[in-house]
């Protein structure tokens, strides 16, 4: 089972980063791979169990469900329900931890999924680079813009 782990240090306090990440319906505001996002059934985006429908910049659509959200731990977990990409049983976890030395943020983003063996390498690379790494850079830019 492929396991993707990426992490980064952001030069901002965890509260500022969490403020961006906790909105399960707000990734289209900062992530370059995501064009639009809506929550199904008009539910609140911090209601655990809500489903977001996301259109990617290439036009394809996917649905993801919020599995866990904690303002105390600054963590969130979600899974893919429907996707045009052969990522199955995809569950991802986002976790923020404070870097007390300098009031910065350690951001940990990981997932596991199943796929056909011949796709494993390509999809691991795609999730790692185009989703997670690109996400780190995008939130850095987003926070800089907001400042």
């Amino acid at each position: 089972m492929p396991h993707v782990v990426r992490s980064a240090i952001l030069d901002a306090p965890t509260d500022a980063v969490w403020n961006v990440l906790r909105d399960f319906n707000g990734y289209d505001r900062w992530h370059p791979a995501i064009a639009t996002s809506t929550i199904e059934r008009a539910q609140a985006s911090d209601k655990v169990g809500c489903v977001r429908r996301v259109r990617l910049s290439d036009g394809s659509e996917l649905r993801e469900q919020l599995l866990a959200l904690s303002d105390l731990e600054q963590t969130c977990s979600y899974c893919l329900l429907d996707t045009p990409i052969p990522l199955f049983n995809y569950v991802a976890h986002v976790r923020l931890l404070p870097v007390t030395d300098g009031d910065r943020t350690f951001w940990h983003w990981e997932s596991r999924f199943t796929t056909r063996p011949e796709d494993a390498r390509r999809l691991t690379e795609m999730v790692s680079e185009q989703i997670y790494k690109a996400g780190f850079d995008a939130v850095r830019a987003h926070l800089k813009q907001a400042a």
Partner: protein
């Protein structure tokens, strides 16, 4: 119960940082506050349950017991058996996590303990700001940032 949480980032891969800090008897090699250390009973310093008896540069003597050590998750947990600090039920953990974006290491050092209420703030400051951050500063210097 008082809690201490201190964290930092060191400019080196986690395996290099781990090689420096995993030796339960090796604090004098990297922590500026520790003068000397030995493991009681001639046991190996990575044998769970071993006890280190060390002396700080200020003369204080502390005995600590190794409760957990993981080369896989890169953490080390230990308790204080004897110290002049006035703490009870003291358990601390030093944990390393890789920062994939830039080959750095995220270090967390946490402790929980009981003490007299009027000494809590002072102890948190001494342990967190003094001992833990002092160790982090030394590691940052050793690894160039």
């Amino acid at each position: 119960m008082a809690r201490v949480y201190v964290s930092t980032v060191v400019n080196a891969r986690n395996d290099r940082v781990w090689a420096r800090v995993r030796d339960f008897n090796g604090m004098p090699n990297w922590h500026p506050a520790i003068a000397e250390s030995r493991i009681e009973g001639g046991e190996a310093p990575d044998k769970i349950g071993c006890v280190r008896d060390f002396r700080l540069r200020n003369g204080d003597r502390i005995r600590e017991k190794l409760l957990g050590l993981s080369d896989y998750d890169m953490f080390c947990t230990y308790s204080i058996l004897e110290s002049p600090m006035g703490v009870e039920n003291y358990v601390a953990t030093l944990r390393l996590t890789p920062v994939t974006d830039g080959d750095q290491t995220f270090l967390e050092w946490t402790a929980e303990f009981d003490c007299a209420p009027d000494r809590e703030a002072e102890l948190i400051s001494n342990i967190g700001g003094g001992v833990f951050q002092g160790g982090f500063d030394a590691l940052k210097r050793a690894f160039g940032g």
